[in-house]
């Protein structure tokens, strides 16, 4: 906990993130490059043919979609319980990226589903859960924009994020239950052949690093924006 609070100071955060950022950026680029190279070198799948390589951009997007929401939830908890000063900024910064990766997961999922089932959208449990997650993101971002007072907005959104976090397992459970009723297809059935594992894991890592890099830059931007606002307020005084 002390570790986290050491970087609660915006100056410290700027210093640390400034040092770490190039490393993250390079690591991201490397992982994605290697992942793509390996991904395009795999043999076609027995059942899915060449469409199996869609797994390498669909699953990582889904992973980041959920990771981003988890990050928002953790930041919200830090903000509400421990009054960690930078967490509100961090939570708000993560949301657009989370929403984007969720949407990306839905689009790639639909394009993966079409050759599989013949239609672009099938109400399978995973895609449906992610559609609901997208709405959760929209609601979160809308609430931030709607409440004018920043402190109030931060606290309201923190509560919303935590309520959402508690609900997400329930939603996923209910959607799973619902899809078994209707015998939905599943886009990804369990076992992954070992030859696909390496590109998948590397792409997942690449996507996660990408999110962390972009998130860091966004937080730094928000810190600068706040400094600018404070300066303008002083000048007006």
């Amino acid at each position: 906990m002390n570790f986290l609070f050491r970087y609660a100071n915006p100056h410290e955060f700027m210093r640390l993130s400034g040092a770490v950022l190039p490393v993250f950026a390079v690591a991201t680029a490397l992982c994605l490059a290697i992942g793509l190279y390996l991904g395009f070198s795999v043999p076609p799948d027995y059942q899915q043919g060449t469409t199996v390589i869609l797994m390498f951009i669909h699953v990582p997007a889904d992973v980041v979609a959920e990771l981003a929401y988890g990050a928002i939830a953790v930041c919200s908890l830090l903000s509400l319980v421990w009054r960690h000063p930078l967490s509100d900024t961090a939570a708000r910064a993560a949301a657009p990226f989370g929403a984007m990766f969720t949407a990306l997961g839905l689009v790639t999922g639909a394009l993966w589903g079409k050759p599989m089932w013949g239609t672009y959208w099938v109400w399978d449990a995973r895609l449906t859960s992610f559609l609901l997650l997208l709405f959760l993101y929209f609601g979160y971002m809308a609430l931030w924009n709607a409440i004018e007072d920043e402190t109030r907005a931060a606290r309201a959104c923190a509560i919303l994020a935590l309520v959402g976090m508690v609900n997400i397992p329930i939603i996923k459970f209910s959607v799973d239950w619902w899809s078994t009723l209707h015998q939905g297809e599943s886009i990804m059935s369990g076992k992954i052949a070992p030859v696909y594992l390496a590109p998948l894991l590397i792409m997942m890592l690449g996507y996660v690093l990408l999110f962390l890099t972009l998130w860091m830059v966004r937080i730094r931007t928000a810190i600068l924006e706040r400094r600018a606002r404070n300066l303008m307020r002083e000048a007006a005084a």
Partner: protein
Amino acid sequence: MNFDMGAYGVYIWPAYGVSALAIGGAIVWTLVSWRRAKARLAALEKTPRGTAAPSK
């Protein structure tokens, strides 16, 4: 690397394309906002604040 996707190409390339566009867009947006914020802050910090009453 194998780029011959056969009949599935019509799904695979758009999927990779959308992903590239979205990710590229996110990177561009993030960098542009950063540069804009940095420039604005630099401009504000240069502005002489002599017109305001001196703070204690």
